[in-house]
Symmetry: D4
Amino acid sequence: ARNGVPEVIFGEGKRVEQISAIVARLRARHQRALVTRLDTERAEHVLRDHPDGQYDPVSRLLRWGEAPERLPGRVAVICAGTSDLPVAEEASQTLEWLGVEVARLNDVGVAGLDRLLAHREAITHADVLIVVAGMEGALPSVVTGLVRSPVLAVPTSVGYGASLQGVTALLGMLSACATGMSVVNIDNGFGAAWQAASILGLVARGVHPAPADFRSNTDIPDS
Amino acid sequence: ARNGVPEVIFGEGKRVEQISAIVARLRARHQRALVTRLDTERAEHVLRDHPDGQYDPVSRLLRWGEAPERLPGRVAVICAGTSDLPVAEEASQTLEWLGVEVARLNDVGVAGLDRLLAHREAITHADVLIVVAGMEGALPSVVTGLVRSPVLAVPTSVGYGASLQGVTALLGMLSACATGMSVVNIDNGFGAAWQAASILGLVARGVHPAPADFRSNTDIPDS
Amino acid sequence: ARNGVPEVIFGEGKRVEQISAIVARLRARHQRALVTRLDTERAEHVLRDHPDGQYDPVSRLLRWGEAPERLPGRVAVICAGTSDLPVAEEASQTLEWLGVEVARLNDVGVAGLDRLLAHREAITHADVLIVVAGMEGALPSVVTGLVRSPVLAVPTSVGYGASLQGVTALLGMLSACATGMSVVNIDNGFGAAWQAASILGLVARGVHPAPADFRSNTDIPDS
Amino acid sequence: ARNGVPEVIFGEGKRVEQISAIVARLRARHQRALVTRLDTERAEHVLRDHPDGQYDPVSRLLRWGEAPERLPGRVAVICAGTSDLPVAEEASQTLEWLGVEVARLNDVGVAGLDRLLAHREAITHADVLIVVAGMEGALPSVVTGLVRSPVLAVPTSVGYGASLQGVTALLGMLSACATGMSVVNIDNGFGAAWQAASILGLVARGVHPAPADFRSNTDIPDS
Amino acid sequence: ARNGVPEVIFGEGKRVEQISAIVARLRARHQRALVTRLDTERAEHVLRDHPDGQYDPVSRLLRWGEAPERLPGRVAVICAGTSDLPVAEEASQTLEWLGVEVARLNDVGVAGLDRLLAHREAITHADVLIVVAGMEGALPSVVTGLVRSPVLAVPTSVGYGASLQGVTALLGMLSACATGMSVVNIDNGFGAAWQAASILGLVARGVHPAPADFRSNTDIPDS
Amino acid sequence: ARNGVPEVIFGEGKRVEQISAIVARLRARHQRALVTRLDTERAEHVLRDHPDGQYDPVSRLLRWGEAPERLPGRVAVICAGTSDLPVAEEASQTLEWLGVEVARLNDVGVAGLDRLLAHREAITHADVLIVVAGMEGALPSVVTGLVRSPVLAVPTSVGYGASLQGVTALLGMLSACATGMSVVNIDNGFGAAWQAASILGLVARGVHPAPADFRSNTDIPDS
Amino acid sequence: ARNGVPEVIFGEGKRVEQISAIVARLRARHQRALVTRLDTERAEHVLRDHPDGQYDPVSRLLRWGEAPERLPGRVAVICAGTSDLPVAEEASQTLEWLGVEVARLNDVGVAGLDRLLAHREAITHADVLIVVAGMEGALPSVVTGLVRSPVLAVPTSVGYGASLQGVTALLGMLSACATGMSVVNIDNGFGAAWQAASILGLVARGVHPAPADFRSNTDIPDS
Amino acid sequence: ARNGVPEVIFGEGKRVEQISAIVARLRARHQRALVTRLDTERAEHVLRDHPDGQYDPVSRLLRWGEAPERLPGRVAVICAGTSDLPVAEEASQTLEWLGVEVARLNDVGVAGLDRLLAHREAITHADVLIVVAGMEGALPSVVTGLVRSPVLAVPTSVGYGASLQGVTALLGMLSACATGMSVVNIDNGFGAAWQAASILGLVARGVHPAPADFRSNTDIPDS
Ligand SMILES: Nc1ncnc2c1ncn2[C@@H]1O[C@H](COP(=O)(O)O)[C@@H](O)[C@H]1O
Ligand SMILES: Nc1ncnc2c1ncn2[C@@H]1O[C@H](COP(=O)(O)O)[C@@H](O)[C@H]1O
Ligand SMILES: Nc1ncnc2c1ncn2[C@@H]1O[C@H](COP(=O)(O)O)[C@@H](O)[C@H]1O
Ligand SMILES: Nc1ncnc2c1ncn2[C@@H]1O[C@H](COP(=O)(O)O)[C@@H](O)[C@H]1O
Ligand SMILES: [Mg+2]
Ligand SMILES: [Mg+2]
Ligand SMILES: [Mg+2]
Ligand SMILES: [Mg+2]
Ligand SMILES: [Mg+2]
Ligand SMILES: [Mg+2]
Ligand SMILES: [Mg+2]
Ligand SMILES: [Mg+2]
């Protein structure tokens, strides 16, 4: 719970009672809670204890409450293909829960470049971009080349054979020579959303004033 | 030596005398020869025995003679970055030795999309396209989306870290959802050129007339 | 929808309603549609909305309509073992839907060479060859050595242990020194078919006349 | 050259004359230039043509000129061990060339936690953090847990055996459950610096005002 | 059955009757038995033959009897996240069955360092430490840096994407430069417990007196 | 020194004096010795101490003496390409040193099938076959399909890119469905030769008479 | 059907009707048939058409008929752990179907060396040895060191975590420095049995007389 | 410098002046120092500044001073082959510097089991065992099966092909089912020595008395 946002519950591999108990405690303290990677069946069980939550089966997010205040700016969540939508929605809805405005651009893969370029203006006006792509994962480097805002690339496990469950997209994004882009784990829409919010949080609060007495530590440490 | 083209000598790991002897025999029979992956030092040795050859240190090709007749059409050899040039030139000069016209487009990576789109007309007018790219290897799928001619993708070992000596580009190209594209080995400009020539060879001689008596074999074989 | 052929729908991971909606729109515009990688159950659902389609459970293809005109030539689809048939049929039936004549040769693996050589004439008379093989994937290089037409190699995920779900066959095909062969993704019969049709499409329309003013771009670009 | 910063020259695998020519053109247009991954010997050759540059053998950067204006805020560049210094310095000096103030914290690996915690205040006051670590690459998740500013993690190829030339550190950073962190390629101090500058650039210019007419594109596209 | 402890039965992939028969023989000889990696359903079947056993569904251990005497000292079993609990409990309950006192510290991952440091005293007073962590597996090196007792690191298969089913955590732990730590297989809580007990067994019985006549064998052997 | 053959010295990574000392002892006892993987320079040093040996720079074998008696039968050593010769010669010359007759068939790769079939009779008359191939490693399965004698497959590290230093050939050979074939390590011509000799040794001495009292052990062991 | 033994049917991924049809044809010609890797349910279906077969659920083999004559000698099938039994039985029962006598030694892993050494005499009297082991796969090299007969090593997919589904055991067996051992695919008890039978077949028929006119082919081929 | 032992300097990738400076500081404080992985040339440079040190080119250790007091017990350092000696010596000499008595057993690989068993008594009387092996790395599990003292397994990068620079040995050791064994990084003799000393240190000081007020933390933490 650094900076007032409650920890988010990773739903995979947790039992329903564990989740319900953590949600109870988080809501008591923060008035809101978010569970990720929760399948429909377990979500329904948790909702019996906490019936005022909202569950979305595409993103597999279960959430209660709202961000007390909104962050400035807008994040474009761009996704290459229909099959990448669950990851893109995990990003988009996490952002909304964090109080960030989202612009969604779906199904704009690199093999149909004109479809992407049709949205060029929307893309260049986003403050942060989250680009979600599976298979060869080429979309983020193309988008990064079109904008000066920071791009967060999310590889997905969509694909077969040489896609290696997302490892190919992941390695491709890391290898890209486009500048102004960094990468999160395969299918980690949540992580990209949080990093985007942390960037907009910096915009909101502004940079620290330089401390009077800071000295870089470049000595070899004692041991 | 199927179809009148002499076998090409893979120069890596062969001794100078071995290469000279094979070249002698090939030239006696075919009036031309090609050695690939030959470094400057060994090329100079081979040239002492066969002084009328041409060696190019970028492509590392050593060649004698010309294709007796030219193939129809033109192959665009497109390369993503300056560091991919040796592989692109291996493709281009192999094509020229095989009697194929080449159009070179260098340094048109996906992170600078406008640079690529500036050549859109040239690209869409090529009959076969060879697209050479290292790092994340995204260029071939972007190009394939722009054309209806067959695209041959060549991953290169250019890059570092997550590029894994070309494996990332290779897997990315194979995972691409763009249709009308197939892939050769890492750094194999030679193989892409040969496949392009084999396609144009088919154009040159036309398809076979359908045989009167062909029957698909779909029985389970005897054993 | 480059060149009049509608986009093909990748069925894996799409919901039935999504597929039905896309099929409706494609058929309205193109009078035909093709869905790949669709299991029987979902196919039956889609067929309720579009009952005049044909579904084949081996290739897992669901299709409506026919190519308005046929392409010249004939593609041999050769497969190494019975277990590779689903991938071979994905290739063959995609070709038929694209208006291409297919010659099927099944179960002609390299360990029974005489079985393969019995078809030598049929093989050498094909205009394009698609060679499908799992396990060690040796068939394409053997076939490529017998023909001068372009060969498209399709590794399959058939095998166990060291086969690594098709990765071994894929890497083997890419490593082959046989010339005149290129490779598509594991189990991607569809992609090989499309590339074969794109080659025959080039034969059908002939090469472009050389443009008067083309100049290779070999300058270092401005930045 | 998006947004007034000249493209940076990737020095690896380029010939001295190529580099000199590009530097000349960039300086003519932008009054400054930066070459990365340049060894001492080639740097000296380039400096003969452009003698007013500065070369640093640790970071292997060669640079001319200065950013015309400084960006707000300060980036902490934290590095786990002495052997990671070249990558950390590539990040720090790229930042300085981009007009960003840098705070260096060296040799604060997780196995000596007190050494890290001694700098806790400096760490929590940075606006963006670049954390550089090889071997198991644990430092970034520890640091991310201490701050709310965005963290950029840079795995290095330092280590042996199970470190797999940086792949272990890379995968570890991507797998970390710490939130507010994204990752760049192995040894890519340059890329982290650029992303940090792109975040501070957003702080400097502020977010875009929301456009009057934006609509998310969530339709299935025509094909 | 070295040193009086009966062999432990690896339950995975064994049939119920096989397990029952081995348990019968072990109990006849040793008065106790332990089965690992047994799911609830098979455990119930085995309990029909041997109803006085205890089954725990979290650790998946089924056990009968007790260690005839307790070992000295105490092992801290520390686990990074709730999802790692099954592996941590496999370690803890194996230790208890072996007659070792256990101190459990759950959910003290490195991203919330203060949570870990709150237990610093408990950690530094353990005689052996077993540290269980999935994802990037950073916890063991942090803990090892805080103590002088031997640390046994257990990677778990918890995580997704780049976690590669525990391989990333495993490689990370092996690459760590923290000294005084060794590693067991992914999810092998049992193996870590046994090694901890073998260390405390050495403490219990003391070192061997030095033999009068020992000579190191450093000759090259005869062959 | 089981069965009268002296142990063979693995030359890689041993110092010259170590090798000389072991050779001295082996020759004193067995009148012969064999060192593998020895480069020319170190071979010359060892020959100063033991001048009556024979060194071959292609196979990198250094040997003294002869097998006291010859084994029955003949081993065909077949190799796919010129670059595989060093490994094939390691096999052939080890066999000769072990007293086995060798038939060499060089450069008969699968892409030129007629070249292989020209030797069909020689191949089917070998008693054991060693088949050496790099790149995709397809030759052993083709050969195995032609013979009923046991085949030993030796992958080599010849190739580039997707060949992965011999791993692709190794995995391909293991995945092959041809029956009557087993595999040794990459580049391990020596190991294949030894296994071939061990098979011919069995032929020479004949099978054991069945023991009167043998009982298969299928009980579950005591523990 | 080289040498009178009918081809064996690989049951995995084949439909019941396909298998029944092939069995019918094989039995008509050879009076016997063998199907491998067949689960109980499909076996029962096939047995409806061919009720006089024998199915064993452990080895998953379904077989009809007997070898018309027995091969000389005896194969020891040694297996490291109870979980490796299915693979060991696939080997043993394939051998029996091929007319070879089998000696089974179960559960003699290297961690309990005395258990293995108790069988030392039986082991040294086998004519061929098949050694089956999962996890780290150390048993074959230990056994190979005890005997002079040829050893065939079979890695199994038994294990978890670092065992990588048998890849670790496979690579370990290939890396072993014990001489007189070769390796087959993971879980391929069938392949090891066939290779053992092919060795004993050579013993049965004796070596070929040397041909009068054989010449090794060591020329560089024409091309 | 926990517990009075100075940090050891990892020599790889450090410059001579850096090392000399750290050594100076460490010796001032602790009267002794140890540098690992130092080649002869750099060692000689460091010795100019600190001439009273001892350098051993096999282990590549450079050391000054002695442990002020000796630890109880004796560590057996067992190594499988001559090529593993550098790693074994890194372990042995680190132990000696740490004040631990060492018993060396060299060249006792599993393929010559009798050679190992000849030392059975020495092995079973060691208090801690460090077992060093490359290639398939089978020695540690065999040794672990013979003793009840804790075993530390050190894989080495010795081998070729399928050995994968030590990864095969590493994974094999982790997969071993022998109990009472844990593993360190490839070639990390230093790390195994330190862990052995940390075990003997525990023996020397005895276990902690149980604290009066310890409570296991099994609550779900606040967030
Ligand atoms: N889908 C997700 N992917 C990665 N990290 C997550 C995800 N959901 C939650 N987390 C993080 O996981 C941690 C909570 O894990 P846990 O204690 O297991 O619920 C917090 O740091 C979360 O921010
Ligand atoms: N650079 C190359 N990459 C892949 N194959 C090649 C290359 N150069 C030549 N080849 C092929 O290698 C074969 C000749 O190999 P070799 O007999 O070793 O010279 C022929 O099939 C050539 O077409
Ligand atoms: N379990 C098995 N593992 C490997 N190869 C097998 C197996 N069973 C049968 N085969 C081989 O597979 C081939 C038959 O494959 P198929 O035509 O698919 O039935 C023959 O060469 C068999 O000897
Ligand atoms: N050969 C080695 N392998 C692994 N860790 C080592 C080695 N030598 C020293 N270390 C550890 O590396 C750390 C020192 O690293 P450094 O600060 O780079 O000298 C200390 O924790 C040492 O105990
Ligand atoms: Mg950008
Ligand atoms: Mg196209
Ligand atoms: Mg061809
Ligand atoms: Mg943070
Ligand atoms: Mg410690
Ligand atoms: Mg055979
Ligand atoms: Mg032997
Ligand atoms: Mg033990």
